[in-house]
């Protein structure tokens, strides 16, 4: 005896049809993003890799597979030194950004204020203006005749003839501007992970005699770590290869690894081979770091709200 479903359709065939539809839906839904990734991410990277091995070249003529550019890069203290300098700058930026973003996210998520979404909107308001404009605004603030130096001269801390010139075109300027730019980006994932925190755990901690500080250290902080790590990576990955901000406010001392990649592709005489090596090395390091940190990340905790 066949089990009948709605409108007299056998239930067994109905569920099979649903399963088939699901089976077809998955590749259908995934197809586009996968194709997108392959065409616009995997293929370009493969092309860059071919450039790095001199299989492809910007210039016509005979070319063949060689590891020369890779060998030169790995033996170059200059390029590796610049990479290390960029990593250090990026680490400083990421740490400072997390340290600044955490209290903001904590307040928004746990203070119980009714206006938290309005405040969140205020936090991300700078995104409504162009990135370039936001960075250039810092030139007006940090320059010799900028807002800060003018203020210092006005209060008599510095004379107008001797402004603090290290504020602009320096490593400090790059770190400061990158920190400013990335704080909202980091506040968001931390906010999300704190929002999803089970408040009963905090109540339980208090009931068991934990002070607010202890509850924070033993409950809130560990449970929000995925958001913190995600935020840290959100900053570290793009800033280690950053080149726009250093080229605008970095000067000679704020020159970063990303600037070198950009310059190798277009300044002096195009050297796409070395440029590709530098770009791929950055990609490999970033991928390795992401893979390492991904273990500590629980996507649901970062994204759930």
């Amino acid at each position: 005896m066949a089990i009948e479903g709605e409108a007299g359709v056998p239930a067994v065939s109905l569920s099979r049809r649903r399963r088939m539809r699901l089976n077809l839906a998955a590749p259908g839904l995934l197809g586009l993003p996968v194709a997108w990734l392959v065409v616009f991410f995997v293929v370009p990277i493969a092309i860059v890799a071919l450039y790095s091995f001199d299989v492809y070249s910007l210039f016509p003529g005979k070319h063949g597979f060689t590891l020369d550019a890779w060998r030169a890069f790995l033996h170059s203290s200059v390029y590796l030194g610049l990479f290390w300098k960029s990593v250090k700058m990026s680490l400083i930026v990421s740490t400072v950004v997390v340290a600044l973003a955490y209290p903001v996210a904590y307040y928004l998520a746990l203070s119980g204020t009714k206006r938290k979404y309005v405040l969140l909107l205020v936090l991300i308001a700078p995104f409504l203006t162009s990135y370039l404009l936001r960075v250039l605004a810092w030139k007006v603030i940090l320059g010799n005749e900028g807002v800060l130096n003018s203020f210092l001269a006005w209060v008599g801390v510095r004379s107008r003839d001797h402004p603090i010139s290290q504020l602009l075109y320096s490593r400090f300027a790059v770190v400061l501007v990158l920190t400013y730019v990335w704080v909202p980006f980091v506040a968001l994932p931390i906010f999300v992970s704190l929002e999803s925190l089970d408040r009963r755990l905090l109540e339980a901690a208090c009931d068991l005699g934990a002070s607010r500080w202890q509850a924070f250290l033993r409950v809130t902080l560990p449970l929000s770590l995925p958001g913190v790590i995600a935020g840290f990576l959100f900053v570290f990955i793009p800033t280690v290869g950053e080149f726009v901000t250093p080229s605008l406010v970095g000067g000679t001392s704020g020159y970063m690894y990303g600037n070198q990649i950009s310059d190798l592709f277009q300044t002096g005489f195009p050297d796409w081979e070395t440029g590709s090596v530098l770009a791929l090395f950055l990609l490999i390091v970033v991928a390795a770091l992401t893979a390492t940190f991904a273990r500590f990340l629980q996507v649901r905790q970062v994204t759930a709200s």
Binding site: N144, Y255, F269, P270
Partner: protein, 371 residues
């Protein structure tokens, strides 16, 4: 009798045939030539679309309109469309990556490189009515193997700009770019020209073709002095901003920068170093296979006119290859020696020239920045 007539007719007809053949051949030849001319005319007449120009910032619709106004007036339907280049290497990368401009503007040191690259074709100077007014010395610098690959237009110097109210140079020398007294107040230029300048400062005879040891010395000098440098500028607006706001007092600069800083009311000197400045001449080049050669020639003709040249000198402070142009400013006339037809040559300056090991120079310069 009949036989004689037949022979005569036969003979006449052979002559006639020969004449006819000759006439037909000549006519055919003529017709052929006319056909080629017609075809060329038709080809030129068929040139369509907007002229594609790859040029430096400031020379397009971003302020340089006066220099090609005559072209726009003549071809209002084929207005130029600009893509901007930051330097020749950038242009080279763009062209190799698939950009297809009709014309672009490298500087004189790249003439040989591009002429031998297979990317460009020679101009037909007969199609440029203002060609006869161009400085013969610069015209010659645009030739390779007797063919005119570059049409000279703007020219200027690589020298030093400094604030006379802040800086007291010990000598008229490139040494000012390496002066420890002005740490944090110096700007260099982001190009391999810096390797050449280091070579000149170190007294190398041929700064365009330095030996390995000389290159190393030049690189070491730049590396050891980099800590003095606040900014390495790649576009003039960067320099104007840094110099104008007092962030830097000394800079590698072009004549236009001197003009612009004077306009800002700064007390500036454009120093001609004792090592002699490097001189550059902008050369319009025609891309091989350009579908708009007639429009390209017309565009270059507009740029070469006396009116455009004077405008360039008055507004940008550069020299122009048109020998009939004179700027309104006597200062500029004096500093650039615009009345001297060989102002860009010795004993005034070193005209920039081909760098055989350009790729190596570039790598060494990149290492200076990365160090």
């Amino acid at each position: 009798m009949q036989e004689d007539r037949d022979v005569l007719e036969r003979r006449l007809s052979r002559e006639d045939l020969l004449k006819l053949a000759a006439a037909t051949g000549g006519a055919g030849l003529l017709a052929g030539r006319t056909g080629i001319a017609d075809a060329a005319r038709a080809h030129f007449a068929a040139e369509s679309g907007r002229l594609q120009v790859l040029d430096w910032a400031g020379y397009g619709n971003d302020g340089g309109q006066a220099m090609f106004a005559a072209y726009v007036k003549k071809y209002p339907k084929n207005k130029p469309q600009f893509t901007y280049m930051t330097n020749e290497a950038d242009a080279l990368a763009k062209i190799h990556a698939g950009l297809k401009p009709d014309i672009f503007r490298p500087y004189v040191g790249w003439t040989k490189y591009f002429a031998t690259s297979g990317l460009v074709q020679p101009w037909d100077p007969k199609l440029i009515s203002n060609f006869k007014y161009l400085n013969p010395f610069m015209v010659k610098a645009g030739q390779y193997n007797g063919k005119q690959y570059g049409i000279p237009e703007d020219w200027g110097l690589d020298a030093i700009l400094y604030r006379s109210d802040k800086v007291k140079p010990k000598a008229k020398s490139f040494s000012l770019l390496f002066d420890e007294r002005y740490k944090g107040k110096i700007a260099w230029y982001d190009d391999i020209t810096m390797i050449q300048i280091a070579g000149l400062y170190l007294g190398f005879k041929n700064c365009w073709n330095q030996t390995d040891a000389q290159l190393k010395q030049s690189q070491n000098l730049l590396k050891s002095k980099k800590h003095l440098v606040r900014v390495i500028w790649s576009s003039e607006t960067n320099l104007w901003e840094a110099f104008g706001s007092g962030e830097v007092w000394i800079a590698y600069a072009w004549p236009n920068d001197w003009v612009q800083m004077k306009k800002k009311g700064l007390r500036v000197v454009y120093m001609r170093p004792k090592e002699k400045p490097l001189a550059w001449v902008g050369m319009f080049m025609l891309l091989k296979g350009s579908p708009r050669p007639k429009l390209a020639h017309a565009y270059v003709d507009a740029w070469s006119s006396t009116k455009s040249a004077k405008w360039l000198e008055d507004n940008y402070g550069y020299g122009h290859a048109n020998t009939r142009a004179r700027p309104s400013s006597s200062d500029l006339l004096r500093v650039l020696q615009l009345s001297n037809p060989q102002a860009v040559a010795l004993p005034n300056a070193y005209l920039d020239r081909d760098i055989p090991r350009r790729a190596l120079y570039a790598r060494m310069w990149e290492q200076v920045k990365a160090a």
